[in-house]
């Protein structure tokens, strides 16, 4: 039951893009078409969950016992960058079809602040076990996918209407995202916060 509440909270109430402002770059950059944004979303779910699993293991079994937590930022970013490279190489060898679908999104994910952001955030939550962290991250990543797919749908519709010149591109996208964030605010207080 607790996990159900946590998952709903991460997807709808504390949506990573619309409430926490992480991962705005891919949210604005890769949201022209529903198909590509869904591909990006799946790649993010995969990498983010794996990254948090590895970084929480490192945090619990290397950094805390050796009293090196001040190296957290450096360690995590290097681990994530290396992990993304490894995932890319492994996918290329083992599953070319999946690589075809996700390949172009993988290099972009290293610079996605959502991956590092969530990996650090879960280490700062009191009493989170490794399983808690992984569930939290997976749900957060699903929230990212939901937001980017809805947003891509809105932008596809927006291509059909006439927009004043100065507002075209980024400005109207940001304002649309603002209205979408307002809609997501309707979910607030749905579940207790984590």
């Amino acid at each position: 039951m607790e996990y159900v509440l946590m998952i709903i909270g991460c997807i709808f109430v504390n949506n990573i893009v619309l409430a926490q402002f992480l991962g705005i770059c891919p949210f604005l950059g890769v949201s022209n078409k529903i198909n590509t944004s869904f591909g990006m979303g799946v790649a993010v779910i995969f990498v983010m969950t794996l990254a948090t699993l590895v970084t929480s293991l490192i945090q619990n079994y290397v950094l805390i016992p050796m009293d090196l937590t001040f190296l957290k930022t450096i360690t995590f970013i290097l681990v994530i960058a290396a992990l993304v490279q490894m995932v890319e190489i492994v996918l290329k060898k083992t599953s070319p079809s999946l690589y075809q679908a996700l390949g172009i999104f993988l290099p972009l994910i290293t610079t996605n602040c959502a991956v590092l952001g969530v990996a650090i955030a879960v280490t700062e939550k009191a009493g989170f076990t490794i399983l808690d962290s992984v569930v939290y991250t997976a749900a957060t990543a699903i929230g990212f996918t939901l937001a980017i797919v809805i947003f891509a749908g809105l932008r596809e519709q927006m291509d059909l209407v006439k927009i004043p010149k100065g507002m075209q591109g980024v400005p109207i996208s940001l304002i649309t995202a603002g209205i979408l964030a307002m809609a997501f605010m309707g979910f607030s207080n749905l579940v207790p916060s984590f």
Binding site: C25, L71, T73, T111, L116, G166, L174, I175
Partner: protein
């Protein structure tokens, strides 16, 4: 390019947030008040200045094939320094900026300047560039912070100007997107008028 141009181009003409559309996450997340925007901007400026300084002085020693990981380690070092300094000397500001101080590591402005400028130019020029870009970022973050704080709570830097309840939505998440959207539209309008 003259030294003055290198320093000032980041402020308006190539403003990282409003013209180049880089570093969106902190621009949206921490600008709930003018003070937070200013604090975040100055922290980023420090990282930009120091990482540009170090990267441009090491540019002949870093092999080309591993330059990006090397840049990231250098940047992450300075981010950790800022983070620890702020935690001990400015605990209140550090609390309200939270995660976003650590996330300067993945701010595209910092890595972008390292790759596009510091790895090709002299130490002094790179410092000017880092300082200029950092101040441009600070300027736009403070501006967004001022607008959101004024509309949301009727105050600027904590001094009440308009009494009564503000429009709360501008302090919350949707307000950030909307204010930044209109600001970028305004900048584009002014640019087009000038040309």
């Amino acid at each position: 390019m003259s030294k003055v141009r290198i320093l000032t181009k980041g402020l308006l003409k190539e403003n990282p947030t409003l013209v180049l559309i880089l570093g969106m996450c902190p621009s949206l997340a921490v600008t709930t008040s003018a003070m937070n925007g200013l604090g975040m901007g100055l922290a980023t400026t420090f990282v930009l200045l120091m990482s540009n300084l170090l990267i441009s002085s090491l540019k002949n020693f870093i092999p080309d094939s591993v330059r990006i990981p090397a840049f990231i380690v250098i940047i992450a070092t300075f981010v950790s320094i800022v983070d620890l300094l702020m935690q001990s000397y400015l605990p209140a500001l550090s609390d309200s900026l939270g995660l976003f101080i650590k996330l300067i590591v993945v701010n595209c402005i910092v890595l972008g300047r390292a790759e596009a400028f510091a790895s090709k130019n002299s130490v002094f020029d790179s410092m000017l560039d880092g300082l200029g870009m950092g101040l441009g970022f600070t300027l736009s973050l403070t501006l967004i912070g001022i607008i959101r704080e004024l509309l949301g709570s009727g105050a600027i830097f904590g001094h009440t100007l308009i009494s009564g309840d503000g429009i709360l939505i501008f302090v919350l998440a949707p307000g950030a997107f909307i204010v930044l959207g209109f600001l970028i539209a305004l900048v584009r309008y002014l640019q087009r008028k000038k040309n």
